[in-house]
């Protein structure tokens, strides 16, 4: 006799929880702020996998604070699966025993507490991921049971508008809801009619109008007034020695000042080098204010964004030929798609780091902070699944003397992965070190591996004020290490460089100094910048860019 097997346990479980929560949920799935703690106690069970939406930009901060207020005897040992833990509340959950395990991608300001809590046994670390890697696991072995998400507006039925800052919301909601989980949204405002529907009401279980707008950090705004001469020099080296050399069109720029300097030099030095239309035509990028001059000068065909950037809303909406703007006229960012493009379709990733070891491994990890790397490793690597050809990708692959050792006579391309860094950082900490602090962190926090942002075999170019090391042209580890030493200046790694060896590398164009490249150091001044301060950016934008107050000094 065949017994009837039950196939809807997940949905039944959710229905039971929602029945217990029904007392708090009114018309249009609406919940009053005062009832949120009760709602969370009804729908969350000990040991659940829970997601609190938030990366390094928008934050479901009200829901995070409410989760902190639940009765610990009812809710404890949660497994948090979420992009980032930048809010104090995210770590307070572990302090209080409400949460136990963490799988994440980025620590931000709480990175020190993550390390400390791991050591004290308050936090069990699953793994540090890249964003895309974590999103992938939402659909495999880390699906959230309950997700606490964040939107600008909801309508009276519970449809959501996430708009400019859509970011991670679609991927979280889809993973949660289609495994019969529970989605609770905090919104800034409940309105009669949304500009557009980003998340349909049917995928949302409860909506609360937050007592205050969600926190969002203008993380990608760099004031041109703070760009230094050395960053300008590095930028000139990159433009002439890499952008022009390879004709790189599809690019992601990291968060640092070097790439801001490059963006501000496209209409000046880039124009002088004749690069308009030949480089930076397609970009995966948040709406960086420092891109405004290049966009206005017609350099850019397409930009897709991971997230928004405070103050750029009107400017982006007014440039729909460049950005991904909906029928309602506002941007829809999407971190999952931007990271997918970042992984598969970019020809180059360029960004900064804190430390590089003698082999070219690069990390921003410090001894006492489990910070993670967000999306950088996902773009700062050679995507082995890539099959389409672009000229710069092919050229970089053709240069690689070690390719025949791996695939014989078969031709293949390679992603350019560029690390730009001054030889010494703040406080005269050397950027080139014999051993990455990541090793000490692994020891301190009991990690299986030292957290490496970009592995040496993925890095193709290192740029310092001493010049460019073309690691893509190195035939073996010995040559690679010599090339790294040659651009490492007066650091403990750089002082081992031998002048005759460096001479040979320069002759072979494996190392190029500013002089070799014909970059005049004396021209590396702020006169090179198309905009010299935030006000200039506002002017370039025709008044459409509205910088947050902290960046206004006029």
């Amino acid at each position: 006799m065949k017994t009837q097997k039950k196939w809807d346990n997940l949905a039944t479980d959710t229905a039971e929880r929602m029945a217990a929560a029904s007392q708090f949920i009114g018309n249009g799935k609406r919940v009053e702020p005062k009832d949120i703690v009760g709602l969370l106690e009804a729908v969350i069970r000990p040991g659940d996998r829970v997601n609190i939406e938030g990366n390094n930009q928008k934050q479901a901060d009200f829901l995070a604070e409410c989760l902190l207020k639940v009765d610990k005897s009812k809710i404890h040992d949660l497994h948090m699966v979420q992009s980032a833990v930048p809010l104090a509340a995210h770590l307070d959950l572990f302090e209080q025993g409400i949460a136990k395990k963490l799988d994440f991608a980025f620590g931000g300001p709480q990175a020190g507490r993550v390390a400390k809590f791991i050591k004290e046994g308050k936090l069990e670390l699953g793994a540090i991921h890249t964003y895309l890697e974590l999103f992938a696991r939402y659909f495999l072995d880390l699906t959230p049971k309950v997700s606490l998400i964040c939107a600008f507006e909801a309508d009276r039925e519970g449809n959501l508008y996430t708009g400019f800052n859509t970011e991670d919301t679609p991927v979280i909601v889809e993973a949660t809801k289609f495994r019969q989980g529970i989605v609770i949204a905090q919104v800034n405002k409940i309105v009669d009619k949304l500009p557009r529907v980003d998340i349909p009401a049917g995928w949302v279980d409860a909506v609360v109008e937050s007592p205050r707008p969600f926190f969002v950090e203008p993380l990608f705004t760099r004031d041109p007034a703070l760009v230094t001469n050395n960053q300008i020099l590095l930028g000139m080296l990159c433009l002439k020695g890499i952008y022009a050399e390879y004709g790189v069109q599809r690019i992601n720029h990291g968060i640092g000042f070097l790439t801001s300097a490059i963006e501000l030099m496209l209409p000046t030095y880039g124009e002088e080098l004749g690069l308009k239309g030949k480089v930076c035509t397609h970009m995966i990028l948040n709406p960086h204010p420092t891109m405004i001059p290049a966009i206005e000068e017609g350099w850019v065909d397409t930009i897709h964004c991971f997230g928004g950037e405070l103050g750029m809303e009107k400017y982006v909406a007014a440039r729909p030929d460049v950005f991904f703007v909906g029928p309602d006229g506002t941007l829809r960012s999407n971190r999952a798609y931007a990271q997918t493009a970042g992984h598969y379709a970019l020809d180059m990733f360029i960004g900064g780091t804190l430390q590089i070891d003698p082999y070219g491994n690069s990390s921003t990890a410090t001894a006492n902070r489990v910070a993670g790397f967000g999306g950088a490793p996902n773009m700062g690597c050679d995507p082995k699944g890539r099959r389409h050809v672009t000229q710069s990708w092919l050229k970089c692959g053709q240069e690689l003397p070690s390719m025949p050792e791996q695939i014989g006579t078969m031709p293949r391309g390679k992603r350019l992965v560029v690390q730009g860094i001054e030889t010494f950082g703040e406080g005269r900490d050397p950027a080139f070190v014999e051993e990455l602090d990541a090793w000490q962190l692994a020891k301190n926090a009991g990690l299986d591996l030292p957290p490496v942002m970009i592995y040496g075999d993925d890095v193709t170019h290192i740029v310092t004020e001493e010049g460019i090391a073309y690691l893509s042209r190195c035939k073996d580890m010995e040559t690679r290490m010599a090339a790294i030493r040659a651009v490492a200046g007066f650091t403990p790694v750089g002082i081992n460089a031998k002048p005759e060896e460096t001479r040979r590398l320069r002759d072979a164009k494996i190392v190029m100094t500013p002089e070799d490249l014909g970059v005049d150091r004396d021209r590396a001044t702020r006169d090179m910048l198309a905009a010299k301060n935030i006000r200039d950016l506002v002017t370039w934008s025709g008044g459409l860019y509205e910088p947050p107050a902290r960046f206004r000094n006029w």
Binding site: L233, G425, F490, D522
Partner: protein, 104 residues
């Protein structure tokens, strides 16, 4: 802010350049420095006085200054540096710029 004074002497293999009048370059902003250079009869050597708020970088200063003097083939110059935590890259840049100013 307690300041420390470091003194160095550098001599390059074949001094060929000097300055013909006192000059001043840069400002003591955070992470930056000012450079004063003046002609000096020092038997081909370059004397350097560094005033800095940080300690523990004597060897680094020596290396950066010696490399600058060697590359610029500088001799018979007295250099004074008022430093505010500049990195070696900034130190070298400002020294080069100061010298470029002198040549202009």
């Amino acid at each position: 802010m307690a300041l420390n004074t470091l003194e160095f002497e550098c001599k390059c293999a074949a001094p060929a350049a000097s300055v013909d009048k006192p000059l001043h370059f840069g400002v003591v902003g955070s992470g930056d420095l000012e450079v004063l250079m003046s002609p000096a009869k020092a038997g081909g050597k370059v004397t350097v006085k560094v005033v800095t708020p940080v300690t523990g970088f004597d060897v680094l200063w020596q290396r950066v200054l010696a490399a600058f003097v060697e590359n610029a083939k500088l001799g018979d110059v007295a250099i004074e540096i008022n430093d505010n935590n500049a990195t070696p890259a900034v130190v070298t840049l400002r020294l080069r710029q100061a010298l470029a100013e002198a040549a202009a």
